[in-house]
């Protein structure tokens, strides 16, 4: 839920990266963290298991700059992708302003993508959101691997509503900032509509 503070002239928005386990959600945040100037970012917090799998969430606060006299802050979260962490996943969606779905392009992860997307729609519904109305971007990650489904087939299967689609190789930064920019743009333009409160 966007938080507009007129006293400190700040706008805070929450973006959640969703998708199947080991799809590259945390890698997206890590790349953004590594490539952003120190003054524009806070600490990257990872609540992870001993084997570096996301247990609850990763969190990265990002200061994008000033628009119309207001400091624009984005809080980026990931959810744990593993199926059995559904209760935790649901909690992170509370107050979300925009969603990024990080799909794993590998052939053998196709079912996991579909299942995770279905799970996203279900969990959003439980918070009273409709994926068709929430700012949303689809990232097709791991495009550098040999066993990937074609972009056309993957898009046809996962596309929901004409959302922007980006090919990604998150560990090398390919598509990472294009994805972030696209979701930030949708969220901020949504605020223009939400002026009525």
């Amino acid at each position: 839920m966007t938080f507009i503070n007129y006293a400190s002239r700040e706008i805070n928005c929450k973006i959640v990266y969703y998708g199947p386990g080991l799809g590259g959600k945390t890698t997206n945040l890590q790349y953004i963290y590594d490539s952003t100037a120190a003054q524009a970012k806070g600490k990257l917090i990872s609540l992870a298991t001993e084997t570096d799998r996301t247990l609850f969430f990763d969190f990265l606060p990002l200061d994008l700059g000033t628009v119309r006299g207001f400091k624009t802050r984005f809080h980026l979260y990931t959810v744990p992708g593993q199926v059995f962490y559904d209760a935790s996943r649901k909690l992170i969606l509370k107050g979300v302003d925009g969603m990024v779905f990080v799909a794993d392009s590998q052939r053998e992860r196709m079912d996991a993508n579909v299942e995770s997307l279905f799970n996203l729609e279900l969990n959003l519904k439980q918070h009273g959101y409709d994926l068709m109305k929430v700012p949303y971007v689809l990232q097709l990650n791991k495009r550098d691997l040999p066993n990937v489904v074609s972009t056309a087939d993957l898009t046809a299967e996962l596309h929901r509503k004409g959302e922007p689609v980006f090919e990604g190789v998150a560990n090398r930064g390919v598509g990472v900032f294009d994805t972030l920019k696209a979701i930030a743009k949708q969220v901020l333009l949504e605020l223009r509509k939400d002026g009525s409160g």
């Binding site: 839920m1 006293a7 805070n12 917090i45 628009v67 949504e190 939400d194």
Partner: protein, 163 residues
């Protein structure tokens, strides 16, 4: 998408005064207000190097997880959480069902004193949040639109953020 939460200067100052007083009355090190989705609202205290953004996000996560646990055992929620450390302690409580109040204190205070002072401050802050709600509702009933700072935002403005 959910309606944005709006905080105006007058109410922000009132909340700041309330948490400043609470910090002093409870002899606490730091008092902090955060909304349930992890956005910080206001803070006051002596812990200058505290990473308040991370504190806000982790507090919201903590409260959300504890609420989840409560629902699993048939409780509506746990309105007060307390964490005891070797030096510093955390007292976390819910205000007006949507805002989280965090008090950090050490041996100069006690859990009993903090609880007592939080109770009084909660009543005061609840009425401030009720005031904000009624202000928003009144404007809506009158057909007045809240002035969005981004009502006139352009795609060029957003592109400039990334350049």
């Amino acid at each position: 998408m959910a309606t944005p939460v709006v905080l105006y200067e007058t109410e922000y100052e009132q909340l700041k005064r309330a948490i400043t007083r609470l910090c002093s009355d409870a002899n606490a090190k730091f008092v902090f207000l955060v909304d349930r989705s992890g956005q910080q609202i206001a803070s006051h205290g002596e812990m200058l190097n505290l990473d308040t953004t991370s504190l806000a996000s982790l507090t919201a996560g903590n409260v959300a997880a504890t609420d989840g646990l409560a629902h699993l055992i048939g409780e509506r929620g746990f309105p007060v959480l307390s964490h005891e450390g070797e030096r510093d302690n955390l007292h976390i409580s819910i205000i007006a069902a949507r805002v989280i109040l965090v008090v950090i204190f050490d041996v100069r205070s006690s859990l009993g004193l903090v609880r007592l002072r939080v109770k009084r401050a909660t009543a005061e802050m609840t009425s401030i949040f009720d005031l904000i709600d009624s202000k928003v509702e009144r404007d809506r009933d009158l057909g007045m639109s809240l002035e969005s700072p981004f009502a006139e935002i352009t795609e060029e403005d957003i592109d400039a953020l990334f350049n």
